[in-house]
Amino acid sequence: MDQTLERPIFEHSRPGRRAAAQSPPAAPAAAAAAREAIPDALRRRKAPLLPEVGELDAVRHFTRLSQLNFSIDTNFYPLGSCTMKYNPKACNQYAMLPEFLARHPRAPASQGQGFLECMFELQEMLKEVTGMAAVSLSPMAGAHGEFAGVAMIRAYHRARGDLARNEIIVPEAAHGTNPATATMCGCIVKEIPVDGEGDVDLAALERAVGPNTAGIMLTNPSTLGVFERKIRDVARIVHGAGGLLYYDGANLNAILGKVRPGDMGFDVIHMNLHKTFSTPHGGGGPGAGAVGVAARLEPFLPVPLVARGEGGFHWLAEAERPQSIGRLSAFMGNAGVLLRAYVYMRMLGREGMARVGEFATLNANYLQARLRAAGYELAYPTRRASHEFIVTLRKQARELDVTAMDVAKRLLDHGFHAPTTYFPLLVPECLLIEPTETENKDTLDAFVEAMTAILGEAQADAARLKGAPYTMPVRRLDDVRAAKQLELTWKPPQAATMAG
């Protein structure tokens, strides 16, 4: 891999260069007439800053940029809580069949029965695998699904005339989206502690619930990488106080096919199709955050939904679902992502789905055992790993000044993407490691070797370790400068010098 950096595309521009094959058939008279038809006051005067390059220049530029990335296709990527499993090429290929790609969102249901059948079956499969009564596919990301979930909880209480319930309980270990979502829904956040073993502090929970409790947001297994063993007590306490249980599906991969959130007592869940159901992360999206609900929340689901009737498959929208929390997307959400998840679930089938949780958990426990044997400190040494586990570098930080960040950066030199760092905030100097079920034993062993070497280097040559990475396209970046001297768009370099 050629590690030299690419110049910004604008520096490849030359006035008049074009990708000539992309011009639509010339109709100069019609185009001139169209331009004339624009009132003077509304016409654009100065061309926008878009590149002027030939097609090969463009292809070469972006291809070379892609080669600067780590990705699942090229590297082991044990990012905790992100579920970086293999994205099957078949999912992409069949989601991008020409007829699916070309279908306009406002096309009638009669011209879309094939697509709608896939969506309907996806709803049904997601219901089955999560144990929920109904599903909406429209939220476009996990955080979007969370928003829908909390909004439904609020709508449920308001519909019962219970207007005082505006508090959402969140464990202190929760991901930042949880309190942010609660605030977006006009709720107040109440944080409760977890105990030393990683379970929710039940006594604190009892004190926290009351007539203002709208609900609690939980992940299970939790963000600490362990199963919330007291979940049924949590459900009893919160339901007893009149609140509802929300399940953050970020860690569903650990229990897929083994445990269903609906059976644990959750009233509403969101799923991250881009984690558990292997749709692509795409460098930061698109995701899909389908939501599932117990029967009592069904009227509030975001629209549109797919239903099956005598005439085939059709949409249910605002008119058919008057109590819905509304529309979250101008159309129906990330349809192409949903098709990929559908293909994935059809390929796994019932046996394959059950195996996901098993092998994700096997891989995580194997890595946990081997890293502990190699000398790493586990955050919860008495617990089984779920699909992920936490290692803490607090001893190394104290004694050698080697931090979790240093280990993460050095792993890049070994060709591995770092695990998640500094999340959850509760555990100091932590690495949250999630191998997923699609990695083979040899890859895991190679990772352990690299981690072992790094631990040795921490003892023998901490200074060298702290300067990592050395072999990436860039060394560590000055993010203080990035935030203070904001350079958020390309500017032409000053005359004569290439600004560094």
Binding site: D479, V480, A483, K484
Partner: protein, 131 residues
Amino acid sequence: MSRIPADLKYAKSHEWVRPLPDGTVEIGITDHAQAALGDLVFIEVPEVGRALAAGEACAVVESVKAASDVYAPLAGTVVAANAALGAAPELVNQDCYGQGWMLRLQPASPEALAALLDAGAYGAQLAAAGG
């Protein structure tokens, strides 16, 4: 070991207060706070003339890893804000009790000052929290 000047008063939320000869008070964040935040990249100070309640969020400090509210330790009206922090937020890291001052307040009631922590009590609070 963070510095806690003996001649200042402190709030539990890591702000310091310095009474000035003219009856106003000067406010900033403590050494413990600036160290915890790391290199500051942006600071938003309140407008002159704004009335603040005790405990009200009146400024924002942002580093690469965190953004925090600064809370008014006592009620009053803002009479000055440190304009230098716009171009040089690092002043708070370098000299949090001096050039890193954030705002000056005309207190609503001078007695409120006595209710704040002194250096010893603030130091004890930090020690108890393991800071």
